[in-house]
Symmetry: C5
């Protein structure tokens, strides 16, 4: 997530310059061909503009859908924050005290295992998918802290919150966060069997775990189900077809006014092509909010926030620092 007021024009342009340059070259070829061959292959602008309007609509729809995906992803991780706080408060205040301080140890282990769930879910969200843009940690040059942690891997982070044996058990499973929650509900069963909570409170804990399953599943849904590729592809190819037609149409217009300025076709084509591919790209780069790139929902930072909040509730020590903003990015 970029956290400054606006991407500068230069940053925006640098990121999206390819279509502009290719557009220039393409329009130049068309214009020169026209000058050289004198074949009248220009096209009237009016029907091209109808295609342009249709493409604008379609891109509008796609940008809207991409935005909704990003926003929903953020909502889900917001719900993870809320339910983490509620779960931690439940652990802290709903268990009966018993004399030998075992309860305090149990509370801490439940909250630590919960943090392991959040962290392993975060890792799962960042595993690359076949429809995503490819970024390796080595490419995340503007946010070195994040790239470093990514390189360290899941195990290093989980070790802080799980015992070795538990970690080994989870490693044999396909879906680690899902099995962590199952473990939590088994621990709560033991707590109930020890008489620290009533039947009724056990069900309430189970309902909380159900909400965590909901959050996990919704997050997986955004991750595993892309913007349907038929929609995304049509947006791309419609933009291509429209942009291929532009120089033909502009040539036609410029020809009617004055032959000398026919060369204006080239920069003007480049600019229109750039604008349309910019609209196409902005949706394209926002539709996968967990692809491990700069416009991601900042789930690393959100996870860290949960760690801080829950460990402050435990009056814990060695609480980690919030993620830094580096070069305007928060991951």
């Amino acid at each position: 997530m970029y956290v400054n007021r606006n991407y500068s024009f230069l940053m925006t342009f640098k990121w999206s310059k390819k279509p502009f340059y290719y557009g220039l070259v393409y329009a130049a070829i068309i214009t020169i061909l026209y000058q050289v061959t004198e074949i009248k292959f220009t096209l009237p602008w009016q029907p091209i503009s109808i295609i342009g309007i249709a493409v604008s609509f379609y891109l509008g729809f796609k940008n809207n859908s991409s935005y909704d995906r990003t926003w929903e992803a953020r909502k889900i991780w917001g719900a993870i924050v809320n339910d983490s706080r509620t779960f931690a408060t439940a652990v802290i205040s709903l268990l009966n005290e018993n004399p030998d301080h075992e309860t305090e140890i149990l509370k801490k282990s439940l909250i630590y295992r919960h943090l392991a769930w959040v962290i392993s879910l975060r890792y799962m969200m960042r595993i690359p998918k076949s429809w995503e843009h490819k970024f390796g940690p080595q490419n995340i040059v503007f946010v070195p802290t994040y790239a470093e942690i990514l390189n360290n891997g899941l195990d290093k982070e989980l070790k802080e919150y799980l015992s070795e044996s538990e970690l080994a058990h989870f490693r044999t499973k396909s879906n680690i966060p899902s099995q962590i929650l199952k473990k939590q509900s088994e621990v709560i069963k033991e707590i109930k069997n020890k008489g620290l909570i009533s039947d009724f409170k056990q069900v309430w804990f189970h309902q909380l775990i159900g909400r965590l399953y909901d959050n996990q599943g919704m997050s997986e849904r955004i991750k595993n189900f892309p913007l349907p590729r038929q929609y995304a592809s049509v947006a791309l190819w419609m933009t291509w077809v429209f942009c291929l037609l532009i120089p033909f149409g502009l040539l036609d217009i410029f020809l009617t006014s004055d032959e000398l300025w026919i060369w204006m076709t080239i920069p003007f084509s480049g600019m229109i092509i750039w604008i349309f591919f910019l609209m196409e790209k902005i949706g394209d780069y926002s539709e996968n909010p967990f692809e491990g790139a700069y416009n991601d929902v900042p789930i690393s930072s959100i996870t860290r926030g949960i760690e801080i909040d829950l460990r402050e509730m435990l009056d814990d020590e060695n609480i980690p620092k919030p993620y830094p903003v580096e070069n305007g990015f928060l991951m």
Copy 2:
């Protein structure tokens, strides 16, 4: 579901080429007729463009609605994943233990019957409807594994999770998944009568079953209630009318500049007609997310994911493998 970055231009074109070819032929006929008869039946472009804008809007609305249907379908099956995990965790952790290990058998049978519910619901979703595109398993050439399983039929899959007698009973009913859930709640009643759960926990299990009924009913709603046919049909016929007018309008424009190039009417008509029918088709092929075709929500794969997850929770054996991606498709 297609899982690669984009459908290639060739794939997109192959799938939608008919309107292009027919458009070429139609525009050729009009142009030749014009040349031969010299009757001035051309039409001005300006009013045609108003129709074009209206059609773009309408298709935009329809594509949006189709997308919402697909997305809602995915959300519902996401909820089935979440509630399956919550249900399995409830089964595993909320029952009291009894000495003779009967509980373990009960747990396994409850979770197996739940898997039978998911599988039978998946089959019901793939039964063809009168408004859907027709695909038989023999047409699903790009995803042979899926076609094969489809051919094997429901019974073969259910046998793994249900006893013969139960299966025979369900076969006499109209709505198998609905009756499976009723059976689950009767089993839970027995569990309660045996004293393995309290009155309160029985109601909680019943509420979970209520959520599964909600998921099933929502999935049936998407399946049984198409995008209202009046909306879909008007989209189709408006596109037709607009496309029929295009060559008349283009002729008029090309005529005014230079008679020689009047033949450009033909490819240019084909292209515009193709773009508009492409927009029409993309919604048309996404509005029924369970029609058993390539752009479906991948409910077979989701079902398999649930099987793996729940059976790993049981520390079960012979856990099946995830569905393979074949030729870029996941079903």
Copy 3:
């Protein structure tokens, strides 16, 4: 609900032909007047096209809202299906057994009364409103089975599920479904007083009844609160004003090219007027999803589906057949 792939072009046209014919006549009058009087009352097309775009937007908004109403109506009746199944399962599995088989009779009467609720709600939804299109059962020629059942009236259907005395009591009330649910909660009170359910289960039943009240109230809301008439009326009158201007604008365009073909104004006006009124009508005929006409949400068929499902749960006899599809329509 129409259940075939698409309304044919002929069906679509037959249903919406009036504006086309009137448009032809109107445009003919204008064109002849122009030819006879030679008064230059034509209008430039450019500003007309701005009105056309504004009208397209407005109709797009209205169609979207109408679609949302239909879709919400279907969602509500989907929820009625789900909550009916949950309620029936609750009745079947949550009551304690008592020796004299009284419980079985109670269960059946509760589920039968529930079916009476669904049926009476369906009838209430089909009572005509002052803003709806007027259809009598005699006009529903394409779906004779539905028309016949409509003619038989509510009482005949309710008698199957309610005793004579109860039915007589409900007839004195303004809102029958609302009073049926109140009766259900009184019966559940008696069941509790007999010791067949605990205090806790009584509240759960009451919550289920609360959900049924929610479904009923939402269905009444769609029925009793139309698309605000100011929005609908402005859509209609804007379309009228735009269509009245069309021949003046087309005349102006045709005049500039060639006087001979001025007569093309007439069919072309008819076609544009038809397209815009078609867009207006499609929303207009979908905004009241319970008006008892062909594009209704098929609540008769949904009700029948609930009857079948719940009575199969009771292992009941003489279970009715599903509603037939007649001439492509399901009601």
Copy 4:
């Protein structure tokens, strides 16, 4: 709420005629000035049409938001209907009977106090706000019954359902409905202390009261938070700027064809100005659904419906009649 099929064209025009007349006068001044001074101050139409499209979009967005406010308001009052029925059914069926018939009196007083809550909330919704259109009861000439009841004031209606002392107590508070609900929960506490309900049922009643607070708060939100005035104002001023430019643009177009018909600028300007201000007004008059004017959500009629329904549940006497539709309006 208007309940007929459509506002007639005359009613629509009468309500929105001002911009038409002013538009005529303004365009006439411009045209005459042009004729007299012969200064060429006309403007090209093409850039004006871009402003027109931008304004159409913006008004479309605003109309959509206004519609959503009205629809949400209706949903909230629909929820009030549903929760009122659920609350009344809870009161009737969840309390234990005691011998001295005190319970019956308690039940009636709880339901009566609930009706007082609905009525006082309705009054609060109709108190004028600084951003609303100003209507006094004396202006509501088409719905005299409603105007009369409005004149009678809140106290007269509340006296039917509350004792004098309670009413006096509530009069000292800022937010009467909020304090009525607090009183309800104190009465339920007493009922619990008398042993008529269990601990568990008390909480369920409290949850019902929480839902009523939700409904009240959502209704207050719509009332107290207008469509943000910056959005509404920009819609207004953009429409103004666009309409001020129209005659300059039309003059330019008419000039190029024939000087004689330059006077067509005047009626044509009036018409376009009227259409755009009509679109602006339709949103403007729907954005405050509780302003006490003709397009309001009919909360008086909904309140009366709740009174009838709940009092029929009590088998009460002197049940009031439904609100009449007067001149096509229901309030």
Copy 5:
């Protein structure tokens, strides 16, 4: 929040005049350059208008998203109002009485701590973010009361509702509201240990606290996650590019009619540029509903409303007055 009917045209213009003036200067430079150099660098209007339409769409999308953010923020604070009332009613009516009046003190302290939560959340919402417009209290000249309270700081307000020691404890924590809620649930645990509430009621209180965590987290989400900067930036730069092209296009149009009036390019450019930047700004200034500026959701006023309502429930004394409307603004 502005609470009058409309921002006057003058206020609107004053707030957005910069692009108008810069537009004038820029267009003047272009026009003079053209006159002086006689280089034909003008551009055809038709392709510019396609960019204009695309920009209009994009700004429409952005305005819609900004509006949704504001509206969601208001909904969240509406939920805070509702849940505060429900929580206070729970505190007042669900605790058992004990003889030594300790309960009354406990009730008051719980409600006071709740008010401290609301107030500290409000302060947290107003801490400036790197993507927000910068306003210091000294700039809020039109609402002096609000600016003054802002200057006084959080501590002064919290002291009224929290003891010194509690306040000192919270000051050591990162997220004060989050820790206040944790404290509430510990106090409720003590209440339960004293026997004033049952196990069941304790869980209900915990669920209420969970809802408050949800509200807090949703409010934080709106605050901490801006409209994705890539979307916002592209809107800005697209508007810039479009506006830079406008004078070139207008020059071309004016040239074709009459050289004398070529100077009309300047005011007309200014006006179009102003309209588009106005649309851009209106979204830009509404996307952060808690930035402490004039168009904020009025969370200070809402907080005060909660204080009044809850303290009236306690029959408290020295209840503060509602926030005043100053110069049409409510904060």
